[in-house]
Subunit: 209 residues, 2 copies
């Protein structure tokens, strides 16, 4: 199984336009991230994110020229769907996908920044909670928030998680963290650009699930 940290995201061009094809190739490895958390409890999350990717890919595949960049997808869907937009199509799928990506990004960043719970230095709950609060919590009603609170206890301890991230590669912890830092450069830039695009296009929604 390819290690998702090895699948670097492409650097952004000066225009900040994101090529759909390259983006889809890069994100296709990310659901593996949830396997690294090591519990079947996270299977529904992986399925949700896979669903987002499949939906965006279906729109792209229907006309790869028309939908060459993520920007074009939003623009064209806006004109197709009228008042239904943006809660529709690949625009909706990417709206949610970017939140999952942001969750992953903040969690990994918090790990490489060595943010720890002093009382439980080998747990990653503090990093997971930070990522959840910044990326997702405000879009979740109280029931899903309660589900999150329960599910986070299924998270592995820090050392096991880092080991899982480096799967099949007997690397030292420091080496793994270096890989994560490297991965985060283009990944963070891409996620930022997607958020920026939703803001500029007025495509962000804040309804609760």
């Amino acid at each position: 199984m390819a290690l998702f940290l090895d699948q670097q995201f492409a650097p952004l061009p000066d225009t900040n336009e994101i090529a759909t094809k390259t983006f889809l190739e890069s994100v296709s490895h990310l659901p593996h991230f949830f396997d690294c958390l090591g519990s079947k409890v996270f299977a529904p999350i992986k399925a949700d994110i896979n669903g987002n990717i499949t939906k965006i890919k279906a729109v792209y595949d229907s006309d790869p020229v028309k939908y060459e960049t993520l920007q074009q997808i939003l623009l064209i869907e806006k004109s197709i769907y009228g008042s239904e937009w943006p809660k529709v199509g690949a625009t909706l799928a990417l709206m949610w996908l970017k939140r999952g990506l942001r969750f992953i990004q903040i969690l990994l960043q918090s790990l490489v920044d060595d943010e720890r719970d002093e009382d439980n230095p080998d747990l990653i709950r503090i990093n997971i909670t930070k990522a959840y609060e910044q990326a997702l919590k405000r879009y979740h009603g109280w029931i899903v928030q309660k589900v999150f609170k329960a599910a986070q206890y299924a998270a592995p301890c820090r050392s096991d998680f880092l080991k899982a991230l480096s799967k099949d590669q007997e690397v030292a912890e420091e080496e793994c963290l270096t890989k994560v830092r490297q991965f985060l450069i283009n990944f963070t830039a891409t996620v930022d650009a997607v958020y920026e695009m939703y803001s500029v296009m007025n495509a962000e929604l804040d309804y609760l699930v």
Copy 2:
């Protein structure tokens, strides 16, 4: 959408042998039950049960004569898989599926028996909790139990649930309950027979997820 209450299970023959084909046709309507609960929170449960059905169907389709009854599936898989059995193949899928069926059966039975929480007579939490405790709780570790506790708050109130069960058919509550009672006859007998078969075949496991 076909109403699952209208898809009666077949009566059991005197031998208690369950024809795989008929069984699969009947259970194929059951995932719709979770739509009646009316919240996306239950989507992962529906997906899990759909997965069980798909797995049993794949085994059946590979040789409909060999796998004509559920009993034959267990017997043949036992001989194929040796010590891996019963935590494998359609035997494992049916082991979990029957627990989901038991959950549905106990919940519906409790509703037609008019078991109510006196303080909240229009909620079905008491019925859901009873079904969960009898059918599933002992197979769930504390994290999944906590997830259940949170998720049950997404359940609809009694009247909305009964309305959903009678979807597209403007029937009175009493008429709907009559339908449920009718449905439960062969359904309960079938679920009982599957449990009996697991017991007789020594195919039941009680590991936690």
